[in-house]
Symmetry: C2
Subunit: 509 residues, 2 copies
C-alpha cells in the first residue's frame, strides 16, 4: 500500500497507459463456454499429468464414501499404471474396501500413509509389518490442524464428489435433481481443498454452473474429472452407523441418557454430539423422549449426523445441525433440504488451533473398543493388537465437551472391554468423564461433581476398578498380546503430539 | 510428514507419555460458557487494545451498511480519542456519511486511504487536496485480489454485523428472529475476515451460538463488540439503488433488453448481472417479460441483488442467485429465506486471480457517468473533476461478461455523457461492447458480430462519434476542467495495475 500511495513519477503516468489488463475476455455464451472452456479434463490420467505430481509428493483423499469408496483404488491403480512410486497417501480415513493398497505398498507406489483409521486386510497387513515406515494416525481435528500448520502438506488432493459443475463447485449430493449418489456433507474434504497445491474433483454427475450452495468452491479447484463410477451407494451409507435393536445396546443408551440428565447437561438450549456406534447413536432416542416430556429443545447437534438427529430437527427439537459427515441417506437428504442443517468443515468442527465447534458441546457420547482403569480409551486396535478402527473425532470431542460419556458393553464375547491397560491410548483418561456399560456406570475421579449428581439422582456409581474386576470375573484374563519391538503405527493426539505407538504383532509368539 | 514416520527413538516413546494436550477442558454448561467464556469484550476500546493496533498499521471496513454506516465513524472517533495516528484506512467503499473522516485526516489519525469509491464532503475535500498521499481506488475484485496476494495487508478489520454469536459467527441479518437491522450479504467483508491479522466484529444483536448459516465463521474472528448502534436502516437500504419510474431510464432499460436479446445472449439457461443505477436495474423488468413470453429461464443472477431479481427467483424465472451485496430489504429477506439465494464473497465474485463468477456472465448492464469515443467509462469523477462515485464491480464484470452493456442518458442537464475523453478511465474501452442511451445505441468496433446481429434485428446502430456529436449539439462543449499537477487519487484496474490517476481540482482557475 505505501508503494501505491507514493509511486515514483506518479505525475508522469499517461492517461490509462499503464494498466496491463487480465486478458480474460471471451464473447461466447455461457452455455457454449460450458462445453469447452472449463476445468473438465478428458481423463484421470490427464488430470494427474497436469497436476505435476512426482515421486516424494503427498496425495490426499476424503472418506465420505466410507466402505463404498472407489476413488482411492481407482486413483492408485492409475498412478501405478503410470509408473508413479514413493508417494505419501494422506486420507481422512481408510476402510476395508481399500485392501488393494497392499499391492501398491508392496510395489513401492505408496511408501507412507496418514489416516484416521484402517480396517480389514490392509489394517491386518500393516499390523503384521507391511510397511517400512509407520502409519501416522490423526484425529479429524488433528488432521485439519496439521494441514493448516503445514505439518501435513498436500501436493495433490483427489476428491470424489457426487455433484460438480464444470468449474469445480462440488457437493456431496445433487442440488438440481435426485440423480447420482449422495454422501451428504463433504466436511473432511474441505481442508484438503483449501490447502492442497492442486485439487482434482472426481465426479460421476456433472451439473450446471453454479452448483450452489457448494461444499467446495470453484476457486479452490484446478481440474474436474468425470467418470461413471465413484462409489457404491450401499457402501457409502453403511459401516460406522446403524439403527440398533440390540437390547444390550439399548440398555446402555438409556443409561447414558440418564447420566447426561442427572449430571445437569440436559436443559433448554443444550448442545450435543453422538459418536458412531449403535449404543451412542441410540442415546439420542432416549434424550428425545426426555426432551418431549420436559418441553425443552437442543440448540445444536454436531458432528457425524444421522437420520435420528435430522428427524428431531424436523420435529422442532433441535434448532441447528452442524454436519461434518452425514452418516446415512436421511441425513444427506436433510442437509440438502433443511436451511438450518448446515455443512461445516473439519477445521471449524474440531481444530484445536481455533475456537472450534467441539468446544461448545455440553456432552458427547462416544464408543470404545477398550477402556482402562485410568479411563484411557482405545478405538484403534482390537484385543489381538490388530488395527481395526479409527480415531475419528474421539479425542477432539472428548476434550471439547463439558461431559464426555463413553459407552460400551462390559464384555464382547470372551473379550473384556474394561481392562487394566488399553492396547493403544487414543483418548487420554483426562478427557473422559463417565463410562457407561450394561453392567454399571463409573465416573472419573477427576469429576466428583458428576459422581455426586448421579448419586443424588439415584444412579448407582461403581469405581472403574469394580467394572474391570467384574469383566475379568466374567471372561477371565485374556492372554497378553505378543508384539515385536517394531513400530507400525504412530498415534497422534489432537494437538499432533504423539500419544502412543502401535507395534507389530508377533505371529510367532 | 517424513519426520513423523521416521521419528528418532520411536521405540523409546513411553506409553502415552509424550503428548502435550490442548488444555482446553471446561466443565461448565454451554449455557454458562455463553456468558463469560467467549470473544465478547466489554468495549470497542478493549477490543482495539487487544488487537495490538499501532501507528503505521492498516485498518479495514466493509460498506454493506452503505450510507447508513455508523461503524467507520465510531471506530475512528475512538481511535482518535485513544491517541492513534498514522493509520491506513482500507474500506471496501466509503459514502457521504463518512465526512467526519476529514477531521481525522487533518489530525493525522488517518494518513492513507484505500476504497472503491467516495462521495460527499470527504470526496470534495480529497479532490481539493486534503491528503498528502493519493487515495488508492480499487474495484471490488481488485481489492479481493490485493488482499489475497498481500499487496493490501490488513492488520485489523472492524466489521459491522447485524447478527453475531458470542464466538464470532456473523451474518448480515438475524436467522433466529426479525430483530435488529439487516444488510443481507456480507460478501465484501469476507476477504477481510479471512486475511486480516485481527478481526473485530461489531454487532448490535448478539444471538445464540451457532449463528448458522453464517457469512463469517467464528474461526476467523478474534473479538466481538456489542453496541447499541451500528447503522441506520434507512441509510443501509438507500443510495446506489432505486426502483425507477423515470420514462427516460425506462426507455434506456427497454433498449438495453432489446440489445441483449438481439445479440443472442437471451436464451434458456443464460446468466446475468445488473449493476446499480435506475436504468440498469430496470433492465431486469424488460428481460422478465421477454422470458415469460418465450418460456425461458435464467440459470443464475450475480452481484449486487435487488428485490426485482429475488421476485424473479421466487416466481421460478431464475434458478440461482449469487449475492455479494444485497441492495434492498427484499434482497436481504430472500437471502435469509431462499435456499438457492446464495451468499458469496468478493474473491469468488470477481477476483482475477481465480476463476470467478464474473467469468461466467453472459451479460452485464452497467451505468456510467461518462463514456468516451474509445468506449472508456468513468464512474468515479463528475463533470467538474470531483470524485463522486465508486468503481464497484464495473471493470470486473465488464471484462468477465461475454456482452457488457453500458447504459446512460446522452446528457444530464447541461452535461454530456458521451464525450471525446472521459475525465477518469475506470473501465477501459476494450471491455465495453455496447452503449445504450436514450438517443440511440453504439457498438464497439471490436464487436462487429454484435453490430451485425443488432442491425439484423432491426435495431439502428449509431457510431459512438455520432452519439458524442449529438450530445455536443444539445448541450455544447463544456469548459475543460482545470487541474493542478498534484495527484489525489490512483485508479487501479482489476489486476491492480494503474489505469489512471485523479488530479487535484484547480479552484483558482
Amino acid at each position: 500500500m505505501p508503494d501505491l500511495h507514493q509511486i515514483p513519477h506518479l505525475d508522469e503516468i499517461a492517461h490509462h497507459g499503464e494498466y496491463h489488463g487480465v486478458g480474460k475476455r471471451v464473447t461466447e455464451t455461457f452455455a457454449d463456454r460450458y462445453h469447452h472452456q472449463n476445468k473438465v479434463v478428458p481423463s484421470l490420467e490427464d488430470a494427474i499429468r497436469l497436476t505435476g505430481l512426482r515421486a516424494g509428493m503427498t496425495i490426499s483423499f476424503h472418506h465420505h464414501f466410507r466402505n463404498g469408496d472407489h476413488i482411492v483404488n481407482m486413483v492408485l491403480d492409475k498412478l501405478a499404471e503410470m509408473g508413479f512410486h514413493d508417494l505419501k497417501l494422506a486420507a481422512s480415513s481408510l476402510s476395508a474396501i481399500h485392501a488393494p493398497l497392499i499391492r501398491h505398498i508392496q510395489n513401492g507406489v505408496i511408501t507412507h500413509i496418514e489416516t484416521s483409521g484402517m480396517r480389514g486386510e490392509l489394517a491386518e497387513a500393516v499390523s503384521r509389518g507391511l510397511m517400512d515406515c509407520p502409519v501416522v494416525f490423526r484425529s479429524h481435528g488433528g488432521r485439519a490442524s496439521a494441514i493448516r500448520t503445514g505439518e501435513l502438506h498436500i501436493d495433490v488432493a483427489f476428491l470424489g464428489a457426487p455433484s460438480c459443475d464444470p468449474y469445480g463447485n462440488a457437493n456431496g449430493y445433487s442440488r438440481d435433481d435426485d440423480e447420482g449418489i449422495a454422501c451428504g456433507s463433504l466436511g473432511y474434504a474441505r481442508p484438503d481443498a483449501a490447502y492442497a497445491d492442486e485439487v482434482v474433483i472426481i465426479t460421476n454427475h456433472l451439473v450446471a454452473y453454479p452448483n450452489a450452495p457448494w461444499a467446495i468452491p470453484e476457486d479452490e479447484v484446478d481440474y474436474v474429472v468425470v467418470t461413471d463410477d465413484i462409489g457404491d451407494p450401499k457402501g457409502i451409507m453403511s459401516g460406522a452407523t446403524r439403527y440398533t435393536k440390540d437390547p444390550k445396546e439399548l440398555l446402555i443408551a438409556r443409561n447414558a441418557a440418564n447420566v447426561i440428565d442427572a449430571a445437569g447437561y440436559l436443559y433448554d438450549g443444550f448442545s450435543m454430539q453422538m459418536g458412531s456406534g449403535g449404543a451412542s447413536l441410540a442415546t439420542a432416542r432416549f434424550l428425545r423422549q426426555k426432551m418431549l416430556d420436559r418441553g425443552i429443545h437442543c440448540r445444536f447437534a454436531l458432528g457425524g449426523i444421522t437420520g435420528q438427529i435430522t428427524a428431531m430437527h424436523e420435529e422442532g427439537l433441535i434448532d441447528r445441525i452442524l454436519d461434518v459427515q452425514s452418516f446415512d441417506l436421511d441425513a444427506a437428504k436433510s442437509l440438502k433440504n433443511n436451511h438450518f442443517h448446515h455443512q461445516i468443515g473439519a477445521t471449524y468442527y474440531a481444530s484445536y488451533l481455533v475456537d472450534s465447534a467441539v468446544d461448545q458441546l455440553d456432552f458427547v457420547v462416544l464408543s470404545a473398543l477398550e477402556i482402562d482403569t485410568d479411563f484411557n480409551v482405545n478405538v484403534l486396535t482390537g484385543s489381538d493388537g490388530v488395527i481395526r478402527g479409527a480415531i475419528g473425532g474421539h479425542p477432539d470431542t472428548a476434550e471439547g465437551a463439558s461431559l464426555s460419556v463413553v459407552v460400551a458393553p462390559l464384555t464382547r464375547g470372551r473379550i473384556p472391554t474394561i481392562v487394566k491397560h488399553v492396547n493403544t491410548v487414543v483418548t487420554p483418561g483426562d478427557a473422559v468423564d463417565v463410562v457407561v456399560t450394561d453392567h454399571g456406570i463409573a465416573v472419573n475421579p477427576r469429576r466428583p461433581d458428576v459422581k455426586e449428581k448421579l448419586e443424588k439422582a439415584g444412579l448407582h456409581v461403581f469405581t472403574i476398578e469394580q467394572l474391570q474386576q467384574r469383566a475379568e470375573k466374567i471372561v477371565g484374563v485374556p492372554e497378553p498380546i505378543r508384539y515385536k519391538d517394531r513400530v507400525v503405527g504412530v498415534v497422534m493426539y489432537r494437538d499432533n503430539t504423539i500419544i502412543d505407538v502401535i507395534r507389530q504383532i508377533d505371529e510367532d509368539a
